[in-house]
């Protein structure tokens, strides 16, 4: 399997595997790299680059755009609670769409089905310490998927026990805000789950979804970028450097273009 240039093949389509990985966040190129390696293991010693850059025209490493609609990880009940939480964290108001309207629940759902959701890239070998130093950072064995599944269930139990059988989504906005503030500060504790861990996960993912490129399902109509005035992926601001302290006039652009161009 050596091409006329004497280089090892880089492209090998495997539709079945690609389809399986569609929502996992594994990019096409990662897949190709591993395919190339499988071919070489019986003979040469992995990928060899010599005499020419292993570059092909039109080769790039795009992510698969999120197609909104339905949920791949959340149950309908979980999605409704996440919708309600992110709507309080970043509400829709006179400054524009909030997180719920910007698609952040879909963003989180798709992230949880990918490598992030399983902490696939992190060091997850034990032993896990029960009393780490704060300076030692993440030390929980729970993946984001487990954090959401267990944390949302614990939140629902807490609400039912403390709000006369009502669910989080049945609380009014003031009650929700008060409860979220209590969870954030660690004053509200769930049974069998670290309430601050749930808040931390949703908070971080909400900020990510609200400000990430719309290609990931959140930041719809670039609501997050418009809030701060971030022009997105324009990639050339030499003109801005020539005009210090002046407002930037062009609207934002994402990896998928602009809504007006038929993109996101």
């Amino acid at each position: 399997m050596v091409d006329p240039d004497g280089r090892l093949p880089r492209r090998r389509e495997d539709a079945a595997v690609a389809a399986k990985l569609k929502h996992s966040g594994v990019t096409r190129r990662n897949l190709l790299a591993s395919a190339a390696l499988l071919i070489t293991t019986s003979g040469a010693s992995a990928r060899v680059i010599t005499k020419a850059l292993p570059w092909r025209p039109n080769e790039a490493d795009p992510v698969t755009p999120v197609v909104p609609g339905g949920y791949l990880f959340f149950t309908a009940g979980e999605a409704a609670v996440v919708d309600a939480i992110v709507d309080r964290l970043i509400p829709t108001d006179e400054l524009g769409s909030g997180a719920k309207d910007a698609g952040v629940t879909t963003f989180i759902d798709r992230q949880l089905t990918g490598p992030y959701g399983g902490h696939d890239w992190l060091y997850m070998q034990g032993p896990f310490s029960s009393n780490p130093l704060p300076s030692q950072g993440l030390q929980s064995p729970l993946t984001p998927r487990q954090q959401y599944r267990q944390g949302l269930a614990a939140l629902e139990s807490y609400c039912k026990a403390n709000f006369a059988g009502r669910s989080f989504i049945q609380l009014n906005a003031d009650e929700q805000d008060k409860l979220l503030a209590g969870i954030e500060k660690g004053e509200v504790k769930f049974e069998n789950f670290n309430s601050r861990m749930l808040f931390g996960a949703i908070y971080a993912n909400t900020m990510e979804g609200y400000f990430a490129d719309p290609i990931y399902g959140g930041n719809r109509d670039m609501a997050g970028w418009k809030l701060v005035g971030f022009p997105g992926t324009r990639y050339d601001y030499r003109d801005v450097m020539e005009k210090p302290n002046q407002a930037y006039a062009l609207p934002p652009v994402g990896l998928g273009g602009r809504p007006a161009w038929g993109g996101h």
Binding site: K51, W121, G137, Q139, M207
Partner: protein, 587 residues
């Protein structure tokens, strides 16, 4: 059982800045060179395509290009009495992975250390007396001087196309440059970048305070440039996607833009990617390296014999490879003996955040090395007598990016969510800038690297264990610098400022800096160093170890300029070694 491959003249571990430079310079003389790199091949057109690369979530937040902790991480604790735990997710620093290494995702600030930095121990004692040195310190003079390194700094700057303004050419102070810098033979290869609104305010304010601001040297280059290797670069577009990203514009110096296009044309060079070197193999007497053992992506083990082994991985992983290979005596904190892992150091960060009444800083129009700096408070450019600390910092006004997942500042005390947070974010983004101090970290008995007793990598080898905290000397220095930053921020016209001090133990959680230094340091005495002045192992003379792991302690600058200079300095020594093998320095 490892399968044995044909012998090569030179075996290089890791294909980042140092590995690619040495590979090219050695291969062009006809030597058979193989570089073994554990990450993937990466190149600009395919991997940093303009249609895919400006993606904050993927690269900056999810760390797509970095070494995955699953593959290798290290454990950490703040002092020897604690139990180290694995860094499960990168935070404080971000080691690279793959061809280009950290030279691919860096910001590009490319400094020369100051002449005093290279003889800091002697210099401080001469000027202030022994008592200025902090308790428990391992501060050492470098075994090489600034003047010796000057031609090699120059070489690296011209290969990388660095944009800047000289401050001292052959002893003549240059207006607009850094008057404190060491004497240089000639100016930078390309002129400074265009600075932004904040840098204009900073320059005016600092000058008014009697300080000496200058555009900081940048590897995001200002004009089109072709380097001595024939590799061409294009002008930076101030896109604001430098650190954590590859550059789609061929504007940021990296092995990809500056070395690899020339390197791969050398017929005697070969790169093997996705192959992890597990060990440098030694002869029976332990005095000669016979080559390396590596594992390919399928888990198959190979032995690559070679006449010289050049260890060119990231600084931390150089140290681990030496420990796993039994090269040099491991450092033992309890007895304060041994050398490998000794003198690990880092960098301080402190400063002042400046909120303006009305301004449009346009933080998104930025570059990793855009900025105006001053060295009035760096190294020993000021009188340390009244302060009682060693070291200093470069102080900078910079915007490296305005990417909003990680940059949506609000004033301290503002709500963290809800409509009030939204309002605060909306009103603050354009009106805030920062004056920052990046400071030196001295070396100490209690800050070191060794092998962890508990945690292993997927191949079953012990992880590196980092024991590190900022010591009183560094806290004093960084907090004094924060006050200097605040003076400048106020003079710039800020309505309010917030001082950012160095408080609490060092934590792995917030990003600080990927300037991990020491652990395999160069020195004049084999009892206190791993390498001689030519970066050659004292113990195994055909092993040379590149990178910031060679720094005896860290200065108040980014390390890459000095890493590049040391690489070219070592290259000359390697050529000498090839003429007559053996130790280049007699212990």
């Amino acid at each position: 059982m490892a399968r044995r491959l044909p012998r090569k003249d030179v075996v290089i571990v890791g294909l980042g800045w140092t590995g690619s430079i040495l590979a090219y310079e050695l291969a062009r003389t006809g030597l058979e060179v193989v570089a073994i790199e554990r990450g993937p091949w990466r190149d600009t057109a395919a991997d940093f395509n303009i249609g895919t690369t400006p993606d904050e979530l993927r690269y900056a937040v999810r760390h797509d290009m970095f070494l995955r902790p699953k593959q290798e991480t290290l454990t950490m604790r703040n002092n020897p009495s604690q139990t180290a735990l694995p860094i499960r997710k990168w935070g404080s620093f971000l080691p690279g992975n793959g061809v280009g290494g950290a030279g691919l995702h860096w910001n590009g600030q490319t400094w020369r250390f100051l002449p005093d930095d290279f003889r800091i121990r002697s210099h401080m004692i001469e000027r202030y007396g022994e008592s200025i040195l902090p308790e428990g310190n391992h501060i050492q003079d470098w075994p090489v001087s600034y003047d010796e390194l000057e031609p090699y700094y120059d070489k690296f700057e011209y290969v990388a196309g660095i944009s800047g303004k000289a401050g001292n050419i052959k002893g003549d102070i240059q207006p607009g440059g850094n008057p404190f810098e060491g004497v240089r033979e000639r100016d930078y290869p390309t002129p400074p970048m265009t600075q932004g609104f904040a840098q204009g305010l900073f320059t005016k304010a600092a000058t008014g305070l009697g300080l000496h601001p200058f555009p900081r040297p940048s590897a995001n280059i200002s004009i089109a440039y072709t380097n001595p290797y024939g590799c061409s670069m294009a002008p930076c577009t101030y896109c604001g996607f430098c650190e954590r990203f590859g550059c789609a514009n061929y504007s940021k110096a990296s092995p990809q833009t500056c070395v690899l296009p020339a390197l791969v044309r050398e017929p005697s060079f070969e790169a093997r990617t996705e192959c992890e070197v597990t060990k440098v193999n030694l002869s029976v007497d332990g005095k000669t390296a016979t080559g390396v053992t590596y594992v390919d992506a399928s888990g198959e083990e190979w032995e690559q014999p070679g006449d010289i082994v050049l260890v060119c991985a990231y600084s931390l992983f150089n140290v681990r490879l030496l420990l796993l290979s039994g090269i040099g005596k491991p450092y033992d904190q309890a007895s304060d003996e041994g050398v490998v892992g000794r003198n690990y150091a880092y960098q301080t960060g402190s400063g002042s955040t400046a909120f303006f009444e009305d301004a449009k800083f346009n933080p998104f129009a930025a570059a990793g090395s855009l900025g105006v700096a001053l060295d009035d408070y760096n190294s020993d450019n000021f009188d340390h007598g009244p302060h009682g600390f060693v070291g200093g910092a470069s102080i900078t006004s910079a915007h490296t990016n305005g990417r909003p997942i990680q940059y949506h500042p609000t004033p301290k005390g503002a709500p963290t969510w809800g409509s009030a947070w939204k309002k605060a974010v909306h009103e603050t983004y354009q009106r805030v800038t920062n004056v920052g101090a990046q400071g030196s970290v001295m070396s100490y008995r209690n800050n070191y690297l060794d092998l962890d007793p508990t945690y292993k990598d997927p191949l079953g080898r012990p992880l590196l264990r980092m024991t590190f905290d900022y010591q009183d000397n560094e806290r004093k220095m960084a907090n004094w610098m924060a006050d200097r930053c605040d003076e400048i921020a106020k003079a710039m016209g800020a309505k309010t400022t917030q001082i950012n001090r160095l408080v609490g133990p060092w934590s792995v959680v917030p990003y600080q800096t990927t300037h991990n230094t020491g652990g395999a340091i160069m020195g004049s005495d084999p009892k206190t160093s791993v390498l001689n002045r030519y970066l050659q192992s004292w113990d195994v003379s055909n092993v040379f170890v590149m990178g910031a792991s060679a720094f005896p302690q860290n200065a108040g600058y980014n390390p890459t300029g000095t890493v590049g200079a040391l690489t070219y300095w070592a290259l000359d020594a390697i050529f000498n070694y090839l003429k007559s093998s053996g130790p280049l320095v007699q212990p």
